[in-house]
């Protein structure tokens, strides 16, 4: 290894900023998973009978499923009976409360994370649903949104208050039979966000959910459902952090998006779960199923993700392009370092005529990490005139990391057009020397080069998040210097 690369590797030993633990009284289930646990979970959430039945059905099916091992990942299997499936801060009542009733410790926690929930300090123009371990603790801007007809609440509330919508759409995009983790999630999902944007409504502000794992030995099973009715538009952001713990923790989420005729959903993620320490100890297992159904004509779903955290990420935000002329987009930056592993990408399933999709993936590997792009572009027999463009670029920092690209293309339609470009490059010694010769220190140089590499993805993020994502990469690449 050259001297410059050695120094670059020193630099990327980063500190995790959000590793603190909130000391708060909680109600936590004993570790273990069985039908009683699921029934209790459903009772605590005061769910209607259909929900409990749905969960139990999923659980029984899950028992017969096997954990997948096809991903380019190596990890110790989770003992599903050793983790707790519910942990929530104690509160006086179970029903949603005003912010005055929320434990000040919790408010402080979110403030520390840069997500003020207080009325006077709320993020301008961004409504937040704050999910802490297994429950949503607060949702801001609910009233102005309700005036526009937009439903923005925790999924637990939605199950109680809008059962017909939930029953109509939940599990239609990601059925419980889809995969092992989706099955588990369907059985034990705790909280997440529900959004419904009615016909013709352009959601007046950005919606967001901030997920925080706090308790030890628990899993977080987030479930998010977003429905954009005909001609509507919504932009949704999601952020995530967790304390530094030596044990691995499981985050098995399911996100379903449904876009009807002419509707558009823009879904952005900045994922910064605890990645484990520099020796690969601890960190979150982020096993996530995210999928969108573009049911309607000319509907559009755009996934943008910046993945910097987690010990292991296993995630393929996908689009089923059923509606004629529907559009799917996937823009991704995945940064791995130390011993992190990421196996991420997308699936674009073209079923309808003239459907189009774009995939731009930027993988950055540093340290001893492994970064995999895995993508599927599929054209069904009726997908006349469908097109896909894919670009996968990998950037290597140092020479002990790996980048792999597994693009799969299946076409059952002769008129489909697919373009694929892939590059692998390194932060070269020459680039570093040029920057340093111009007086720019190494840390700044690496961050500048990496940010340049990610530019095409960052420009897809909403403004506030683009800035945050840039900073996050900087922090992620930050080392002992400066």
């Amino acid at each position: 290894m050259t001297t410059a690369n050695k120094e670059v590797n020193e630099l990327i030993k980063r500190e995790y900023e959000h590793g603190f633990v909130t000391d708060i009284e909680v109600d936590t289930f004993e570790p273990g998973l069985n039908e009683d646990v699921i029934t209790r979970l459903s009772e605590i959430k005061k769910e209607p009978q259909f929900m409990l039945e749905w969960r139990l059905k999923a659980y029984r099916r899950w028992l017969e499923m096997e954990e997948p091992d096809w991903a380019h990942l190596g990890y110790e299997r989770v003992d599903y009976n050793s983790i707790s499936y519910y942990s929530a801060p104690k509160r006086k009542e179970d029903m949603p409360q005003s912010l005055d009733d929320v434990d000040p410790e919790l408010l402080k926690t979110y403030e520390k994370l840069g997500i003020p929930l207080h009325e006077h300090a709320k993020l301008a123009g961004v409504a937040v649903d704050a999910v802490f371990d297994s429950v949503s603790v607060a949702t801001t801007f609910k009233e102005p949104l309700a005036k526009a007809g937009v439903i923005f609440c925790s999924i637990s509330e939605a199950v109680r208050d809008y059962p017909e919508l939930v029953q109509k759409y939940l599990g239609t995009v990601v059925p419980h039979t889809d995969n092992f983790f989706a099955g588990l999630n369907a059985a034990v999902f705790s909280d997440g966000t529900f959004v419904y944007v009615p016909k013709g409504v352009r959601c007046p502000m950005e919606l967001s959910t901030y997920f925080r794992i706090n308790a030890a030995n628990t899993g977080q099973f987030e479930r998010t459902l977003i429905i954009a009715d005909e001609g509507s538009y919504v932009s949704y952001l999601e952020g995530c952090t967790a304390p530094m713990r030596d044990e691995n923790q499981l985050h098995a989420a399911v996100v379903e998006l449904i876009a009807l005729d002419d509707a558009e959903i823009k879904y952005s993620t900045v994922q910064n779960w605890y990645p484990g320490d520099e020796n690969g100890k601890g960190g979150i297992y982020n096993f996530v199923t995210k999928r969108a159904a573009c049911i309607g004509k000319n509907s559009k779903v755009s996934w943008t993700q910046v993945e910097t955290g987690s010990a292991i990420t296993w995630k393929y935000p996908s689009c089923i392009l059923r509606g004629e002329g529907s559009v799917g987009e996937f823009y991704s930056v995945a940064l791995t370092h130390n011993y992190q592993q990421a196996d991420t990408g997308t699936k674009m399933i073209h079923l309808g005529k003239n459907t189009t999709s774009t995939i731009i993936s930027k993988g950055i590997s540093a340290g001893k990490s492994s970064n995999v792009y895995r993508g599927l572009v599929k054209f069904g027999p009726r997908a006349d005139g469908a097109r896909n463009f894919t670009e996968c670029d990998s950037l290597l920092i140092g020479d002990q990391c790996g980048a792999h690209t597994f693009p799969y293309i299946e076409s059952l339609n002769k008129s489909a057009i697919v373009e694929h470009e892939a590059t692998t490059s390194k932060v070269s010694d020459e680039q570093m020397f040029l920057c340093r010769q111009r007086g720019i220190d190494m840390e700044r140089a690496v961050s500048m080069i990496v940010n340049g590499f990610c530019k095409d993805v960052f420009k897809e993020l909403p403004m506030e998040f683009a800035v945050e994502a840039g900073k996050l990469l900087e922090v992620s690449l930050e080392g002992s210097v400066g």
Partner: protein
């Protein structure tokens, strides 16, 4: 200002510089000439602090301070500038962003406040005109898709932006047509100042028609074998390196080339 004493340097264990001695005073322009493989570019890289080269013995001081113990970026902030022979691309990072980061790093080092975007843009536009680059190029990625001539002009532009104490120009004339050579030379001449030294590394004499040096040194096999004034370069052009007992297959071709360019 710059004092190089018995400098030895090697790359991957192979010795390239075998005892360079050179004194450069502020205000002077020195040209280092020599055949390919003589160590000209190595000298430039070693002075700028490229880690790929190892200094095995000797010393270099600038303004009395040990230059070799300083990191690359510290040397740059002290006023050492290298115009690269082959500037690399940094995709996605705009020229503007790159130069502003650079200028502000220097200003920060001098205890000056950072230049804001508007001030910087004004300065950058002026100087881009000076080297005949369309201001639109400021928004393009650093050296991304630049022609050879644009890359060289971009290097000179950066020298003009940064106003270094010691400007080292590594084969700045190579690959330039006669018009671009004129633009680049005008830029370099604009850099000439009483408190600044310029060290030009070149294979061809033709650059020295435009930028007239005070001293010319001939480098061969890692050593300076002859020093003189402007006339030494002319003599080399006429008689080739063989006159000094130096092997150079390209000399004949290169003098023919520079003659035709003139």
């Amino acid at each position: 200002m710059l004092s190089i004493k018995n400098l030895h340097a090697s790359v991957e264990g192979k010795e390239i510089l075998k005892g360079i001695n050179l004194e450069i005073k502020a205000g002077e322009v020195h040209a280092i000439m020599g055949p390919n493989g003589s160590g000209k570019s190595t000298l430039a890289q070693v002075l700028a602090g490229n880690d790929a080269f190892e200094v095995t013995s000797g010393s270099v001081t600038m303004h009395g301070e040990d230059l070799l113990e300083k990191a690359t970026e510290e040397r740059a902030r002290d006023g050492v500038f290298l115009a690269f022979q082959y500037p690399v691309e940094i995709p996605g990072v705009s020229n503007l962003q790159f130069m502003r980061t650079s200028v502000n790093a220097m200003r920060h080092h001098r205890g000056e406040s950072e230049m804001n975007a508007a001030e910087f843009m004004k300065l950058a536009r002026e100087i881009s005109k000076q080297v005949d680059l369309d201001p639109a190029f400021l928004k393009r990625g650093v050296n991304e898709g630049f022609s050879g001539g644009e890359k060289k002009r971009n290097e000179i532009m950066q020298a003009l932006m940064l106003q270094p104490k010691l400007a080292i120009l590594d084969e700045t004339d190579s690959g330039l047509d006669i018009d671009a050579l004129k633009v680049v030379s005008d830029g370099v001449n604009a850099l000439r100042a009483e408190d600044r030294a310029i060290l030009m590394v070149t294979h061809y004499q033709r650059l020295l028609d435009h930028i007239v040096p005070d001293f010319v040194h001939v480098l061969a096999e890692g050593k300076i074998v002859k020093s003189g004034g402007r006339e030494l370069a002319l003599e080399l052009e006429e008689r080739g390196y063989a006159w000094l007992g130096i092997k150079d297959d390209e000399t004949a071709a290169s003098s023919a080339l520079s003659n035709s360019a003139n």
